[in-house]
Amino acid sequence: MSNAPPEQRGLAARWMILGEWRAHPMRVLTAAAAIAIGVALGLAVHLVNASALSEFSKAVSAVNGDAELQVRSTTSLGFDEGLYPKLARTSGVAAVSPVVELEAGTDRPGETVTVLGLDVLRAVVVTPSLIGRPLAAEGGDARGPTMEAAFDESAVFLSPAALVGRAVGQPIELIAGGRRATFRIAGVLPGVGEERRLAVLDIAAAQWRLGTLGRLQRLDLKLSPGVDAARVAGVLQQTLPSDAQLVSPESEERRSDSLSRAYRVNLDMLALMALLTGGFLVYSAQSLSVARRRPQFALLRVLGVRRRALLAQVMAEGIGVGVAGGGVGIALGFGLADGALRLLGGDLGGGYFAGAKPQLVLTPGPALVFLGLGLVTAVVGSLAPAREAARAQPAVALKNAGDSVDPRVTPAIWPAALLLGAGAAAAFAPAVAGVPLLGYASMALLLAGGVAAMPRLARVLLSGLKGRSFGHVAPDLAIKRLWGAPSQAAVALCGVVASTSLMVAMAVMVSSFRGSVEDWLAQVLPADLYVRIESVGTGGGFDPEEQARLASTPGVAGIAFMRTTMLRMSADAPPLALIARPEGGLDAGAPPMIGRTEPAPPGAIAVYVSEPAAWLYGWKVGQRIDLPIGGTPPGAFFVTGIWRDYARQHGAVTLESHDYTALTGDRWRSEASVTLEAGADRQDVAEALEANVPERLAGRVSVAEPATLRDMALRLFDRSFAVTYGLEAIAIVVGLAGVAATISAQTLARTKEFGMLRHLGVTKGQIVAMLATEGALLGAVGGLAGIGLGLAMSQVLIHVVNPQSFHWTMETKPPWGLLFSVGVALVVSAAGTALVAGRRAVSADAVRAVREDW
């Protein structure tokens, strides 16, 4: 018996595989292209996100300098500067650099810069990368001593990004803390990269001229050499007041990662949906190919090819498709990512990296992972057809006795039930590290279960037609064929159901989200006009006197001022929004509530928490909670209710305006909602309000009607979903291309059958009509099942993936019109594809077709 070396034993398999690919190149190319598109999209989205995140991290570290540890204030209002000497005396701390950190507007409309006020003598030891280099006015190195410029209270050093379009020696206006101050550009910050607009000035000048006297936003720490950093951190933690937190470079990295993680993972997963659809396409192509070659495989078995060698041959074909598709996909992915970064910057619509212009980060890791995913998808897609090829009985298969499944046998439902059950169970599992991995697993299992249920479901849906005669050859033959060749029908349906259900699930989720946002906007914008200050920087806004002046504007019946600041709950999580709402109780103009409310007990400070905040921090109505504001004792705040908020993914806490002022001392307000007197003209009042704006804020205040804000919000919504729509559209195109390829290949493989029918007297037209009917029936059954499955999967997206990713809930609002159109489009495209392929198939000579060997 033969004991040839493996490389020679593979000769026959090589001949078989290459022969098949040479004979049917388009089928192989279609399957490989589907894998390539999936891999390319997945890799491109991942690379763009990774590049943007890397840029964002660099920007964060640019602001933080080289500090080993930082103490940061929980709100932008800062902590008492008395903490600085206390920490400086802590054992293990070599040096402390006090920092004022503010976001400031500039004399350029819409521009904001991060202002750092530093004590140069301290910063040079702790964060030397933040020290400015003085330049002479013409751009060369200054001859004067560095320290002199650094201590000049009017000098400011700009990062290269902020210096663009400005020159050394020119004045620059900074607006923050309700102040407007002019400084002179003294030089550049050579240690800060291109990624961030940064302005560094003397700490005393920052406190005095930008209104932060006695307050610091952070302390940068340098530890003594050889000291145990964890021990020092522990000691420092004990010393900190409630409005300050200890932050390490690692926790900052985690914070910047968690800021956009859910969005990035969602895009990654969506891109992988295209790959999944590609997997089904490989499955369809391989199943069809195996079905067509069943007698050939039987011959090989007769000639002495073992079962596992056949299995290996079909798997090798799948691996070939995976490697080719994956390889092309990797190249395409790099190109797509590079193009996207050049054209769109780092932001793919979510707004997390808006304005970032990152460079493509090329690392082999992700490319290998996506190549592997492409390969795995192709291999998994080939597994079932390969097993079928290996299991066939050669003596039976050699006779080519038709479909491999006996039409009289009811297809088993238990594998589908098992998969659907596992999918439903996974939907109830919690998020893993804040990411709904099991939610996505649930969708994949539901999809697999739905596809596995198709043979049985198709039987049920077609059973009403079985045995019924329409009196016409075409429909009668079409129904008999679908009934008599169940496994071939199932393969075609598999592609239809996979692509339809994914498309429907996404469409229902987006429609539900948009509908819920529209409802929410109608609830949160009840006033007649809204006043908002743009790029005003930290701590700015209307002071109490200016608020009173605005309230007295003719035509204004009532005006409610608000303040929104950031509140850091922990070192490694993105900050919450802290919103001070108008006087007169939280019920006045309260946000849309979810569930019950409960009044705060005496002595407690009432707060409403947003749905994402409640989810992220586990807060419930009636619970006493801690918030790091104004040195309040533990349990000082009481959750009165939970409100729906689609604007702030990382959570928001609302408290009464007077409580906010009492806790923070901040009387400034930055937004207002205006109710008009009866009969007052909106336009007139808007103009009057703008005229009443203080000179300091001229050109920075917008007065808008709710309809304008609603339109703007929905435009932002659509923009943030633009990439989602794009990815989904590509997944649909891949899916429909797969359906077309499957139906077309199945049709062309039946040339012999058509030749036989022609011999029996069936006209070409009747055969084409039969094929169109088959296609239409397949499209209808697949569309119906796909829409049903898609609706089920959309519930996982709406009630599991979205809440676990973004921490908000929504109501299901299916786009019925779109779903109907999808159903019609499927029937038409399936029938059309069958018709076009049918015309080609019947054009062959009938006599020759019948005589064909296979």
Binding site: M1, S2, N3, A4, P5, Q8, R9, L11, A12, W15, M16, G19, E20, R22, A23, P295, Q296, L299, R301, V302, L303, G304, V305, R306, R307, Q393, P394, A395, L398, R851, D853, W854
Partner: protein
């Protein structure tokens, strides 16, 4: 007395549903012997060939090829035995459409692990022997039915099997072509020294064999030549 290439003892086979095709079937085929098996349609002639090839399982009895009892071999070993010791010719040719004629013929050698160039060289010789010299690089779609069957005969004999099983090899051919194919088949069998079992309805085809056996419910009965 030389050892038989094929020995069948007390073979019984029934089809699903319980109908007995044949029982107590015995056959001894000496090396180089060529027998034809005839019988009515549905009597189990093709099934008997499948049983001999190890592609189907008997209810009872034993089959041994070259002394190897098929019942004692698992599927893999039966497959390897078929690969090395058996050649097949079918009624429907079964020539692979996407392989060249040379590759089709060389397939058994490739499966045995021979080098591609040597296998193809031998295939060219075999094609020449069946009257298809210089056609190794053609594809099957360019052939007539008779030519395709000659390719199948070349493929069945290229690896010098001890036993060739032929199931109605002329059933799809017109009488004139059938005669030519039969002549090639018989010549090649005799030339190679292989034993052959030919299942046929054709008296003309059966006449080429050393012995003619008639298959019935009680097994094989020899008919006078």
């Amino acid at each position: 007395m030389t050892a038989p290439i094929l020995q069948i003892t007390d073979l019984t086979k029934s089809v699903p549903g319980g109908r007995v095709l044949f029982e107590g079937l015995d056959l001894r085929l000496a090396a180089g012997e060529f027998v034809a098996i005839m019988g009515e349609s549905g009597v189990g002639k093709s099934t008997l060939l499948n049983l001999i090839a190890g592609l189907d399982q008997a209810d009872q009895g034993a089959i041994s090829i070259d002394g190897a009892d098929l019942a004692g071999l698992d599927d893999d070993r039966r497959t390897l035995l078929r690969r090395d010791r058996v050649g097949f010719v079918f009624q429907a040719f079964h020539v692979l459409p996407h392989l060249t004629l040379g590759q089709n013929v060389a397939l058994p050698l490739a499966l045995q692990g021979q080098r591609g160039d040597r296998a193809l060289e031998r295939a060219e010789q075999m094609l020449a022997a069946v009257g298809l010299a210089g056609r190794a690089n053609d594809y099957p779609r360019q052939l007539s039915g008779g030519e395709m069957q000659r390719v199948a005969i070349a493929r069945a004999l290229i690896h010098q099997p001890g036993l060739v099983l032929a199931d109605e090899p002329t059933g799809n051919l017109d009488p004139e072509t059938a005669n030519r194919v039969l002549e090639v088949f018989a010549r090649q069998i005799r030339g190679s020294g292989a034993s052959a079992v030919l299942v046929t309805h054709s008296e003309v085809a059966a006449a080429a064999a050393d012995r003619i056996l008639i298959l019935g419910r009680n097994g094989l009965v020899e008919r006078a030549a």
